[in-house]
């Protein structure tokens, strides 16, 4: 088969049943990859519909009620079906055992179960789309979420179920990292992506159950009127916000930490230089995970919490900037005097550095109490969030996808078209979202289906940007799918990486390594070893 190893996990064993019942982490990772890419497409279509609606203030595409459902669906699909599972469950699942030199994750059956639970949760969300989709926004704030006639229960039940899938993935990864490292690999010779996944998994395990109970309370409130969140019955709607953000703020770090892990890999490989400040990067992941549990109140500066609480939350929010800054400076120091090559994964890595830094700094702006009161609920928040989540996590995901694509399929994509796609995405992204910083600063509130005429030029510019962004993803889909059939065989190690997954064949055999790998050098020892590009 033209340079692709005949014995690999894709063709051994054969048959659709061997896929649906597989316990191989690589196949499960791939099944996750297909699922999340599907929902990325769905969520992206919703996003483009939003931007088409906002091209002009004339409400050309949909009615205001439908618009509320559109942005709710865009948020819910992108957050719960795409970005939370994206890196850990797909790429993480695929490479974590290989990075550790293990044959599989600790609990392969639980891993498969988590995929099926994900599918069931996704079916609930899809069902909700056809039975009067929720119009509450992805945060399901009470009291509106207990009063609207749309299908809040189906949506939140879906999210509740998806939570279990996320918990099982996190639990599996923690145990895998603790127990299944290859002989000779200690905590500080693990590749940094493992640290990123470990910190993520801790948050998944600790925070997701709180979201679970919150959504159960919301469902009971709707079904039985238990009154916990209803002020007319002595309840407190702000308690819902506390509960919700106690999960959902750490969840933002569930989304970004694995991305930071990927960047720590690619930045070293494509700078051909040892990672700068290994321990600082590793511990800053744990630091971010730790601080993430104490900042939820910054979502509620205008919800009537006490001034003292707001000041403390504001201060703690600034603290997140420290470990994040440590990471960015260590990555830059890694690039300094490195021998940088600009293949697609590195292009996305550099895009990540630029966009995440903008997203992070505007987060500090929003964390400041006095500014927040003005910016709260405007497009400035929308822009900040998208710079961190899309400019950060999605760019890191794309870096990882392009980095491990040859390992997953054994084939290379076209570098030329990858650059075209990346350029379109970078231009489109900044046109779409940088504009929204300006819109927000000028006072444009989010979640409205129309706007005053004075905002039209900026909204129009942002919408055109989103079409360019969409075109970039179409280009990417085209060259990636093409590479599956016509791509050149990649060989074991196309990038000259030193981590263990590059020592095995592409695609790897079902058991990952034909012999248990021996650890002879660290994951980033470019000063000592020259990688075998065979």
């Amino acid at each position: 088969m033209d340079g692709i190893p005949a014995y690999n996990y894709l063709n051994t064993p054969k048959g659709w049943k061997s896929w649906l019942l597989t316990r191989d982490h690589k196949r499960i990772g791939l099944m996750y990859l297909f699922a999340i890419m599907f929902f990325f497409l769905i969520g992206g279509i919703f996003a483009l519909m939003i931007r088409i609606q906002l091209l002009t203030p004339n409400q050309a595409l949909v009615k205001p009620e439908t618009y509320n459902q559109l942005f709710t669906l865009h948020g819910a699909v992108m957050i719960f079906l795409f970005i939370i599972p994206s890196i850990p469950a797909s790429l993480g699942n695929f490479v974590l055992p290989q990075l550790l030199g293990a044959k599989d994750v600790a609990f392969p059956r639980l891993n498969l179960a988590s995929w099926y639970i994900y599918v069931v949760g996704a079916l609930f969300l899809i069902y909700s789309m056809f039975s009067g989709a929720a119009d509450t926004g992805w945060t399901f704030y009470t009291p509106y979420s207990t009063q609207t006639t749309t299908s809040v229960i189906a949506t939140t039940l879906g999210v509740f179920i998806l939570g279990f899938s996320s918990i099982f993935t996190g639990l599996n990864f923690i145990v895998t990292i603790h127990k299944l490292r290859a002989p000779g690999m200690n905590w500080f010779s693990m590749p940094l992506f493992c640290w990123g996944l470990y910190a993520t998994a801790i948050i998944q395990v600790l925070a997701t159950p709180v979201l679970g109970i919150t959504l159960v309370l919301l469902i009971l409130e709707r079904l039985f009127g238990i009154g916990i969140f209803d002020p007319a019955m002595g309840g407190d709607p702000v308690l819902y916000q506390h509960f919700f953000w106690f999960y959902s703020h750490p969840a933002v770090y569930i989304m970004i930490l694995p991305g930071m892990g990927i960047i720590s890999e690619t930045i070293s490989v494509f700078s051909h230089k040892k990672i700068f400040g290994y321990k600082a990067i590793a511990f800053s992941s744990l630091g971010i995970a730790f601080v993430s549990f104490m900042v939820w109140g910054h979502h509620m500066f205008t919800s009537g919490q006490s001034e003292i609480a707001a000041m403390i939350f504001s201060f703690l929010t600034f603290l997140v900037g420290i470990p994040s800054g440590i990471k960015v400076f260590n990555w830059l120091a890694t690039m300094y005097k490195g021998s940088i090559s600009l293949e697609a994964p590195m292009i996305y890595t550099i895009m990540f550095l630029i966009l995440f830094t903008i997203g992070g700094l505007t987060g500090i702006v929003l964390g400041a109490l006095s500014v927040n009161v003005h910016m709260h609920g405007t497009y400035f928040v929308v822009a900040h969030f998208h710079y961190v989540m899309m400019g950060g996590t999605v760019m890191a995901f794309l870096a990882g996808l392009h980095y491990w694509w040859p390992k997953i399929w054994g084939r290379l994509y076209s570098e030329f078209w990858a650059r075209v796609g990346a350029l379109l995405i970078f231009i489109g992204f900044n046109m779409t979202f940088f504009t929204q910083f300006i819109l927000g600063a000028k006072g444009m509130p989010r979640r409205y289906s129309t706007y005053l005429d004075q905002y039209q030029p900026l909204h129009g510019f942002s919408s055109v940007g989103s079409f360019i962004l969409g075109a970039g993803f179409v280009v990417m889909a085209a060259y990636l799918i093409y590479s599956l059939f016509r791509g050149k065989p990649a060989g074991n190690n196309p990038w000259g990486g030193l981590t263990l997954e590059w020592t095995t064949t592409s695609p790897p055999p079902p058991e990952n390594f034909l012999e248990t790998p021996k650890i002879t050098h660290g994951p980033y020892d470019y000063d000592k070893v020259v990688a075998d590009n065979g």
């Binding site: 055992p97 293990a102 044959k103 599989d104 994750v105 600790a106 609990f107 392969p108 639980l110 918990i167 639990l171 599996n172 923690i174 145990v175 603790h178 127990k179 299944l180 395990v205 600790l206 925070a207 997701t208 159950p209 709180v210 679970g212 109970i213 919150t214 309370l217 009971l220 409130e221 039985f224 009127g225 238990i226 009154g227 916990i228 209803d230 019955m233 002595g234 309840g235 407190d236 308690l239 509960f243 058991e511």
Partner: protein, 218 residues
């Protein structure tokens, strides 16, 4: 798993990606402890809700808690503690390779769990008849103070969620009973039994917190 054949000298229960039974068992235990942690956080949300509403309505909570039957709650506490003892003894008997005794202790654990649920049923039934129901279904008129239905919302959610965990635990224990009678465990391998025990002790422990918080407000 059955595909780990004993042809290479591996025990049948050893999965292919572990190097030995010890590694497999310690991985399983760590996984279970993490799962128990998620359970604690799940209940944690309800404990927070309890704390907030009790802090806001101390008199109402005090008055409403008198409606709970302290004797039945006390009996149930002893029943659950006893079931934890029999569960531990079931595991101990397996370590001593005494399968018959393991089976007997597992049956005893199941019976205790059933007694707990039956008593809980009578408590619930009584509340239903009086109209001491959560939220908008609350029709009881014998309590003064603001919003006494909040207490019953919290009471039913906490004990209800706990009850679901008892039922789930009974399912697990029943399954362990089946596997023990099928000779799937030995002193060398009884990890699932041990993990079920851990889960059962947590269910017990949560009740030990629920009982004073709900029944013994003073």
């Amino acid at each position: 798993m059955s595909d780990a054949t004993s042809g290479h000298g591996h025990p049948a229960h050893l999965q292919h990606h572990f190097s030995d039974s010890e590694q497999q068992a310690s991985a399983a235990k760590l996984g279970m402890w993490l799962f128990l942690l998620t359970e604690m956080l799940l209940f944690g949300g309800l404990f927070v809700a309890y704390s907030i509403y009790r802090a806001w309505n101390p008199e109402m909570f005090y008055e409403a808690h008198k409606q709970l039957n302290m004797q039945l709650g006390m009996i149930n506490t002893f029943v659950l503690i006893s079931s934890s003892v029999t569960m531990a003894l079931a595991i101990r008997s397996m370590q001593l390779n005494n399968k018959k005794v393991t089976v007997r202790f597992l049956i005893a654990t199941l019976l205790f769990a059933a007694v707990f649920l039956i008593i809980k049923y009578f408590e619930y039934h009584h509340k239903f008849e009086l109209g001491q129901l959560p939220g908008k279904y609350y029709t009881f008129t014998g309590l003064q103070g603001s919003n006494p239905h909040i207490f019953f919302s919290i009471y039913f959610m906490m004990t209800g969620l706990h009850g679901i965990h008892v039922i789930g635990g009974m399912g697990l224990i029943g399954w362990m009973l089946y596997r023990t009678t099928r000779n799937q465990f030995s002193p060398a391998y009884y990890t699932p039994l041990e993990l079920t025990g851990l889960y059962w002790h947590l269910v017990d422990l949560i009740w030990i917190f629920l009982f004073p918080l709900l029944y013994l407000i003073g």
